[in-house]
Structures are given as C-alpha cells and as structure tokens.
C-alpha cells in the first residue's frame, strides 16, 4: 500500500499542489471521474463551516458508487461541488477530473459544456425540481438543445419521446405537452431521470433520488435508474442515507461522517465486514423488514459534531463506545483495513473490529424489553381502542354558487380493528391510502361520525359534552411526525410538559415532580427543562414530544410517523425508547408509518391499508412473514434490505403506476388496477375481482400444521381481502437482477 490515496491530517491549506502530486493526482487512467482531496467550506456568520474535508474516489465506467451518510455529513455538498453548482461563496479546493479533464476552477460558462452532457444529476425532491410553468417536453428538449444546437426539431421531439418511454411513462408522445403538476411525484422523478440521461452522460449523480417517494414508487424509480444506467453505460454516484437502497445496486460504498469519508470499500466489505464503529453502528441501527427475530437496535448516542471547528481527534470519538485516548490525538487517516487495498477505514482500532465482533455489545444496546402483557394471551387483555365500521367520505363538488356533487372520495371506507393493552398496532400503506384520515377520525370524538370509535370504554356516540371528550382525550395522546413543528418555539420544555398537566388539574408541586420524572423517563437530563426546543437536537425534541404525550398517563399513544424525520442513528435510540416505554408502562401504541422495517421491528399487529380499506391485518410476523394479499406482497418486496447478497438475488414485484385517485375507486377490488395477480388471471376469474368486493377472511393454518397440532385449530391472527391469494404473479411486474459478478476486486 503506497500513499496513493492517503489523506493527510486536516491541513487543507499549504502546498496543495505538492500534496496532490504525492497523493497521486494521476488516477487509474480508466476512471471516468476521479476526485482527489476535495475540501469545501462555507463562510457563515460564526466562522468557516468545513462541510467536506478530504474526499477521494475513483469512479469506473458503468460502476455504481454509493455515498452513505446522515444529514450534514457532506454527501450532497460533495455532489454539488463536482457539478459546480455550489454558491460562489463556497471555497472549494482539491481536484475533480472527468475523463482526465480538471473541472474545479472552471467558470460557470465553461462548466456548462460538461453539465447535462458528460455529467448529469438527479435531485431529491421531484416536486420542486421541475419548472412548473414549462411543459415536460420543453424541459427535456431544452437539455438536448443546449448541448446539440444543430439538432432538428423533429429529431429532438423523437428523442424526448424515446427518453420518456425509456423511463416508463405511458403514452409518452401525448405526455410531452403535459405540465409537471399533471404528474405524480414518482412520474416527475422519472422525467428528471429522462432529462439527466438525455445526452448519454458518462457520470450520473443521484442525490437521494427516492427519499421523497413512497416505497412502491421508490422501487419503480430505482428500477428506472437501473435501466437508465444500462442504456447509457453511465457510472452512477448514488447518494443516500438509506443503507437498504444502495445495498442492491452499488458496487462500492463510501461512508461519510462529519464531512469526511470514514470507510470505503466494496459493498460486501462494508456490509459484511465493517471496520469502523460508525459504519457498524449505522448497520445495526436500521431494523430489517425480513427478520422476525427481535433484538434491540444499535443506538448511537450524541449528535454529529459541529463542523465550525476542525476536529482535533477522530470526529466520531465523542459518540464512539470504543474511544481511547489515542483516538483524540489527530484525525485517523483512511487506511487499508484488512488485506485488500480496496477496503479502507479511518479508525485506529479497525484491526480489532474484524471477524465476529458483536455490534450490540460494543454499543451496549439495551436488552429487548419484556412487557408484563407479553405473557398474557391477546384475547384476555382489555381493549383500549376499538373502531367499528368507521367511514369518512368527502364529497367532491363543483360550481361556485350552486354546488353539485360530482363524486365521493372514500378516504376511509369501513374500518374496523381493535387495540389491546400493551400492544403496538401499526397501519401501513402508501400516501393517499387513508392512514392519516383514520387517525384524524379517531381523534375527532364526535357523535355524528360515521362509525363507532371506542376509546377506553367510552364511545364517540357518548361524547356529547366536554367532560366525556376530556376523559377520552386523557386516555389517548399523540406524538407527531415533525418534532420541530410540534413544539412551540417560545415554550421551554418545562412549559411544554406542564401544559397538559395543568389541564388535568394538577397542583404546582406535583407538576414539578412529574416533569422531572418524565424527563428521566424519556432519557433527557432533568436540568434541561428550562431550555427551548431549538437548543435540542431532532432526536431530543422527539423525546420531548413523547414526554408530553406521556404526561397525563394515557393508555394509548398515537404515533404519527414518529421517526421518519430523524436520522438513522438517532432513530434507533427513539425506537428503543418507544419499545422500552411500552414494556415498562404497559402502553398501547397506534402507529402510522411508511417505513415497514420500523413497523416490523416495533409492532405486534399490523394493518395494511389500500384506498381507505384494510386489505390485510394480523400479527406482524404472520403478515410480513407470510403475506397473503398481493398488495402486501408488493409492498414488502419493495422495501430495500441492507443486505447486498439478498438484494442482488431478490425477486421483486414492481407495481405499475401510482395509487389511483380514490375518486375512481373501482367497483370490485380496489387493487385490481395495479394487481400483479389480477394481471395474470384468465378473463373469467378477472370478472370476479372487478365486480365483487373481496371481504376480509381469516387465514387458516396449513394442513400440515393442522395435522401437527392434532386438535381443533383456531383461525390464525391474520385476515386478508383477496379472492386469489395463491394466483400466479404477472411476469411483467417481476424483476430479478442477475448480476453474477457485482464488482471487480
């Protein structure tokens, strides 16, 4: 191992040219993109923010590099620096070479020859990334016009149609004249990809391309990216915070922390043999949707460092459980970790971390909490929440003065379920499936609601006065998705927590005592009660939100996407906390989440919703382990798993199209329009799906199990609504990537 790609300690200034020479500016000649010693800093009012501190990588043609890191790790800044899209106030040093041509230091104008031509980018938020006032066709042809001024108009239009067809937009010729707002989020991201690959780029940078999308749409878009890469032969830089997303598609991974790569290597090295405690922690922090066995998640304490100050030691040291004094003496360089030169880790103790080190032990993950209710059979526990045939239909009207009803949106359509003491019940489904409306209906407490909601024995039909409503409200509290938005910025934590207690009529002394208790309960320091929400990190704010919900000792806590706004490493801590509280306090949870891995980890029972109806419901391990409804199967197969080998050989169901508008909900089975089973059915059987609505039916144990149990067998805790659960899947919707050799040495 020479000093080829060794980075010196934090010293961006000085004889850069000389150091670059030593560092081997001349990358392997076949690399299409090589980045050396990239430093980016921004001037802020408080001083220089060192956003990127020494990034090196070589990208080979046709290969995929995954850059993984949490928010603030410098991954997006790295990509924007490569594209030359950072504001002019950013100070950039180092070298970025595209096919040997230096890009750093080029003027905006000179850079334009490369941007969109040799190197293209797909951004995170498809909803805001397209200009709202131009047609999609105009925006695609613009990319062609810029780099091919001589191209004729019909040729450009033909190419635009070809591109739209490539990214899977139906009837592309007509859609050219459509405006971005006429497309769904997933479709817009396809258009973004079409624009990016318009000129057959050599390098395609995708910055969190699927973060804003639903899982089924994410699977579609990842598939489109895969096609795009195959068609153009481009090398791809995939930036993400989700270790699952890159597991299946990346050849190499670079893990970034505090602006620096802390571990690089082939995808297998990183996932199966991580040598840096941060990588290990990250991998242990994400729950897996395909694993039934329950173990606690790896929590990484603390928060990423402030990049205003260049760290003097290892930047991860303050959060690292293995920290020693040597770690604080200078930032560790990225050095080969084990044998192979390709795998490098920036940790002085990386040698000790090989083999069979238990991550859970290193990070001292808490033991799996056991609730006193776990031993009690479900049927014997009391019910804390029950919904009976709850419906919420919104009339769709037209006309200004005289309103005509032109249709009905069945946001929630006949929902029934119950939650018992001490259990976590989750509702999953795509956006638009009615999850949030369900929560709102439960919180409504109105006697004129369609359907019955029973909370702690009090029905909404009895909720006629404020007293009954107050009693119901005390039984049930809510934790919101965005912890920042849910806390009043002008309230101290003490005020936030005392408000519900005052409402409950507690005296001052008792309130003070209870608040201290709550702070300890959620893992916050009790002496921080006088701080304002903005003095806490996202994870701590969510803990405050949880404390507020628990203040009045509710039986049921409604969790609306409780961790989706948090970074992976912080998320694990909050999930562990929720798990612990459920066990210790005997709480029940009603959770709405889009992340099925989190749902599987924390829930006992789960309901899968589609267009306002439950299509499958039951014990979480049964539903996820043996899904019967085609939609559940599709949903599960769309979740990326942080396991490269599994991902590579996995057969996926890629649903066609988006969630249909609830307005044109079909007469029979809602899911028929996208169903992979329906598509493969003979016409005679299809008729049944189209005309009859499948009822929820219980799953019976398989004959083999029935024989084993040798007695009367009860139906299992799993119900689904499908006529043909064992039907063949349509082959068009099945995708397997056969990548025998995912990457070279």
């Amino acid at each position: 191992m020479s000093n080829e790609t060794t980075i010196g300690p934090a010293d961006p200034s000085g004889a850069t040219a000389e150091r670059l020479h030593i560092a081997g500016l001349h990358s392997p000649s076949d690399a299409v993109l090589s980045v050396r010693d990239l430093y980016v800093s921004f001037n802020s009012e408080n001083g220089s923010v060192h956003a990127v501190r020494g990034v090196d990588f070589d990208l080979m043609p046709g290969k995929t590099l995954g850059i993984v890191g949490e928010s603030g790790s410098g991954k997006s800044v790295t990509s924007l620096a490569i594209m030359g899209l950072l504001p002019s106030t950013a100070e950039i040093s180092g070298s970025v070479r595209l096919k040997g041509q230096e890009l750093l230091g080029l003027s905006d104008k000179a850079m334009c020859a490369y941007r969109g031509n040799d190197i293209a980018m797909v951004f995170q938020d498809p909803l805001s990334s397209l200009t709202p006032v131009y047609t999609v066709g105009a925006q695609i042809t613009e990319a062609l016009t810029i780099h091919n001024p001589g191209m004729s108009k019909p040729a450009k239009e033909a190419r635009a149609v070809e591109l739209l067809a490539m990214v899977g937009i139906p009837s592309p010729k007509n859609r050219l004249k459509a405006f971005p707002h006429e497309f769904s989020g997933g479709m817009r991201q396809r258009v973004m990809i079409a624009i990016a690959i318009a000129n057959n780029p050599r390098v395609l940078i995708a910055d969190e391309p699927t973060t804003a999308l639903d899982v089924t749409i994410q699977a579609q878009v990842l598939e489109v990216l895969h096609t795009a890469q195959e068609e153009t032969g481009a090398a791809v830089v995939m930036i993400t915070h989700d270790l699952g997303v890159v597991a299946g598609i990346a050849d190499d991974i670079m893990v970034m922390y505090a602006g620096k790569p802390v571990e690089t290597g082939s995808v297998d090295d990183i996932y199966y043999n991580p040598r840096m405690p941060y990588t290990m922690g990250l991998l242990g922090a994400v729950p897996r949707v395909d694993v039934a066995e329950k173990s606690s998640l790896v929590p990484i304490d603390g928060i990423p460092p402030n990049l205003l100050h260049t760290p003097t030691g290892c930047s991860f040291a303050p959060r690292c459980p293995l920290v020693t004094d040597a770690c604080l003496a200078g930032e560790p360089p990225l050095l080969p970790a084990d044998g192979g030169a390709a795998h490098k880790a920036a940790c002085i103790r990386s040698e000790e971390l090989g083999g069979d080190v238990n991550v859970l032990e290193i990070f001292s993950a808490p033991p799996v909490p056991v609730s006193r209710f776990d031993a009690v059979p479900r049927g014997e526990r009391s019910t804390v929440l029950e919904l009976k045939d709850v419906r919420k239909h919104f009339p769709l009207t037209k006309g200004a003065l005289l309103k005509r009803r032109i249709g009905t949106v069945k946001a929630v359509d006949g929902l029934s379920f119950d939650i018992r003491e001490g259990e976590c019940f989750s509702i999953v489904g795509e956006s638009g499936s009615g999850k949030t409306t369900t929560l709102l209906e439960i919180m409504e407490f109105h006697k004129d609601q369609d359907g019955e909601v029973v909370i702690g024995g009090i029905s909404n039909k009895q909720a006629v006065d404020a007293k009954a409503k107050g009693a119901m409200r005390r039984e049930m509290q809510m934790v919101f998705q965005d912890p920042t938005g849910a806390l009043d910025p002008r309230f101290t934590v003490y005020e936030v927590l005392s408000e519900p207690l005052q409402n409950a009529g507690m005296d001052k002394q008792a309130i003070r005592k209870r608040i201290m208790e709550l702070m300890k309960l959620v893992g916050l320091q009790p002496d921080h009660v006088n701080r304002f929400p903005n003095q806490f990190s996202g994870g701590q704010r969510q803990r405050v939100g949880i404390a507020r919900a628990l203040a009045v000792n509710p039986k049921l806590v409604v969790l609306d996407e409780p961790v989706s706004a948090l970074d992976v490493s912080v998320q694990a801590g909050v999930i562990n906390l929720l798990d612990k509280l459920r066990a210790e306090l005997g709480l029940s949870y009603l959770m709405v989440a889009h992340d099925l891995s989190v749902v599987r980890h924390i829930s006992n029972r789960v309901a899968v919703m589609y267009l306002g109806k439950i299509v499958e419901i039951g014990e979480v391990d049964r539903v996820f382990g043996n899904p019967r409804h085609p939609y559940t199967r599709a949903l599960l197969s769309a979740i990326p798993v942080p396991d490269p080998q599994f991902e590579r050989t996995r057969e996926r169901i890629i649903l066609k199209g988006d969630l249909p508008s609830p307005l044109d909900a079909p007469k029979g089975c809602n899911f028929a329009t996208r169903c992979p089973v329906f598509a493969a059915l003979p016409a005679a059987k299809q008729e049944k799906c189209l005309t009859l609505e499948p009822p929820l039916e219980a799953v019976l144990p398989s004959p083999a199990v029935q024989a084993l149990e040798a007695g009367p067998t009860a139906a299992l805790d799993q119900q689904f609504a499908c006529f043909f659960p064992d039907g063949e899947l349509d082959e068009d919707m099945l995708v397997v990537h056969e990548t025998a050799d995912p990457h070279g040495p």
Binding site: G116, P132, I146
Partner: protein, 327 residues
C-alpha cells in the same frame, strides 16, 4: 378560456350591480343637496328648492326606495344616470372626465409597470450590490413619502427647470392651453402638459412593483428547478432568466391587475394637484356638493374598473401559470 372569462364577467356584473345599488342607498340617505340649496343667498323657500330638485329628478320628498326605482329605471331603459343638483347631466360630465382620467393615468400606469418590473429584475440580479441598494432604498422611500408631497416635489422641480431655462418648457397644471391651433404646436403643448403628472405618478408608483418583483425573483433564484436547469447545462444567468423569471412574475401579475383600479379610482390627489378635472376629483367633489347621482356614478365606475382589473389578473395568471388553466 372564453367561457371561463364570460362566466367571470357575469359574476362581476352582478357584483357591480350590488355595490352600486348599495352605494346609491347610502348616498341617497346621507347626501341632502336640498340643504345646500337652502344656504344660497337670497335664501330660497323650501318649496322652491323642492321644486327645483324635483325638476332635476332629485325629489327630496320621495322615499329612498322610490328614488332608487326611478334612478334604476332611467339607467336600464335610457342609460341615463341622472343629473347633478346644479343641473349638469351625469352622462355628459362623466364622458368628459373619464377620458381625462384615462389620458392622465394610462401612460403613467404602463411606465410604472415596465420600469418597476424591469428594475426589480435588475436589482434582484445584483442583490446587495450598490445598484440594488440604491434602487431598493429609493423604492422604500417612494413607499413612505405620501403621494401628494411627491407630486408637489416633482411640480417644484419642473418649475425650477422652467425658471433656470428661462422659458416655459413644462406646464405643471392643466390639460392643455386653450385656443391652440391644431397641428404640431398643439402636440408639443400636449406633451408639455403630460410630462409632469406622468413623471410624478410613475416615480411614486414603480417602487412597489420593484420591491415585489425583486422579492419574488430572489425567492426563486435558488429554487430547485433553477438548479435543475443549471444541471442541464445552462449558466446561472440563463437559468434565472429562462426559468425563475416567469415563475416569479405570477404573483406580480396578480398584484398589477389589482392596483390598476386603485390608481384609476383613487387618483384624486394627482388630479387635484395637477388640476386635471378627472373622475377622481369628481368623486370627492360630488360628496362635498351632496351630489347623489355623481357619487354613485363614480362608485359604479370604480367597481367596473375593479372588475376589469380582476379579470385581467385572472387572464394574466392563466397566461403565465399553466397550473391554473381551466381544462
């Protein structure tokens, strides 16, 4: 689109009818021209006054409702908006005055918009640079200074120029010199009368557009779609002018349409100071002279201008923003 505009048009006709009727009732029950007549010297008898009023269709003895019916019937059947207490016909006077107002404001409005929006774009492109600071500071100053004072200042400036040159270049009041022969001299005379009020109204007016356009454009300069455009290979300035500009113009287009009626109907300061006998000064005079029909007519005119402004706003928004296009 045409159907949509027609629909909006009908709605506005209805609204104009409502506001005008309400305005008439308010005027007829609070304005008493007969009382003013009583103060003449020699003092007329109440019978004489009532008689003279009755002849002009302003019978003070009828109930408001009866007068309303009479007034409305005259408009609907003969398009006759009645008479003033001094005997003048509203139709004739209005016809003359509306033309004067239009002449006074049309050029000023166009200049205000073009200069305001152009300076907004110019200053946004040079955010926090010297030019931006000068232009934007000026706009805020124009915002703060009351319009009449600004008009006076421009008037004084024009008078100064006249004095320095020693020749009358600008007329600071009036619409034209009486008794001019038609031809070149009359045209020059018209320009000399136009220049001062137009410049004054424009100088005061563009500030708000400059501030709005600058702000909306800056909001969009760092928008995601501008970044996308740059990632395609456009330079920053190209991306801004092709993508951000049009999006930022959407809210400005709306505000423009709604300020047009404000300028037209609320231009009495300008009309008074520059002595242009337009609709704005008429509306104020009508109230002080207890002139029911004139006050109502100016109110109706204001509503019509407002409706036109609102339809223009819709039209402009539809033109620049495909998201609100009706299918």
């Amino acid at each position: 689109m045409l159907r949509y505009l027609a629909k909006r048009g009908i709605t506005y006709v209805f609204m104009i009818f409502l506001t005008t009727s309400a305005g008439y009732f308010l005027a007829v029950s609070s304005l008493k021209p007969a009382l003013l007549e009583q103060e003449r010297i020699p003092r007329p008898t109440p019978e004489q006054v009532a008689n003279s009023m009755r002849l002009k269709g302003l019978d003070p003895d009828l109930s408001p409702w009866e007068r309303y019916v009479e007034w409305l019937t005259a408009i609907v059947t003969r398009w006759d908006w009645g008479r003033s207490p001094n005997g003048a016909f509203i139709n004739a006077e209005f016809g003359e005055r509306v033309w004067i107002s239009t002449r006074l404001f049309l050029a000023a409005i166009i200049l205000t918009l073009v200069i305001g929006v152009a300076l907004g774009v110019y200053s946004a492109a040079r955010q926090y640079k010297f030019q931006d600071r000068v232009i934007t500071s000026y706009s805020y100053l124009a915002y703060i200074v009351p319009a009449p004072i600004a008009y006076f200042l421009v008037q004084l400036g024009a008078i100064n120029i006249n004095e320095t040159v020693g020749k009358r270049i600008f007329f600071v009041t009036g619409i034209s010199t009486p008794g001019m022969a038609a031809g070149w001299a009359q045209f020059v005379d018209m320009l000399a009368h136009y220049a001062v009020p137009t410049i004054a109204i424009t100088l005061v007016g563009w500030g708000s557009y400059q501030i709005a356009q600058r702000q909306y454009l800056l909001d969009n300069v760092n928008a995601d779609f501008v970044r996308t455009a740059r990632a395609k290979g456009l330079t920053r300035n190209q991306a801004i002018s092709r993508h951000a500009l049009r999006v930022s113009f959407i809210p400005v287009a709306q505000s423009i349409a709604f300020t047009i009626p404000a300028i037209f109907a609320g231009g009495f300061f300008a009309e008074k100071i520059f002595a242009w006998p337009g609709v704005g000064s008429w509306s104020i005079d009508a109230i002080s002279l207890q002139d029911v029909n004139a006050a109502t007519a100016t109110l109706a005119y204001g509503s019509v201008i407002f409706a036109i402004g609102a339809i223009l706003a819709d039209f402009a928004t539809t033109l620049v923003d495909p998201r609100v296009r009706v299918q």
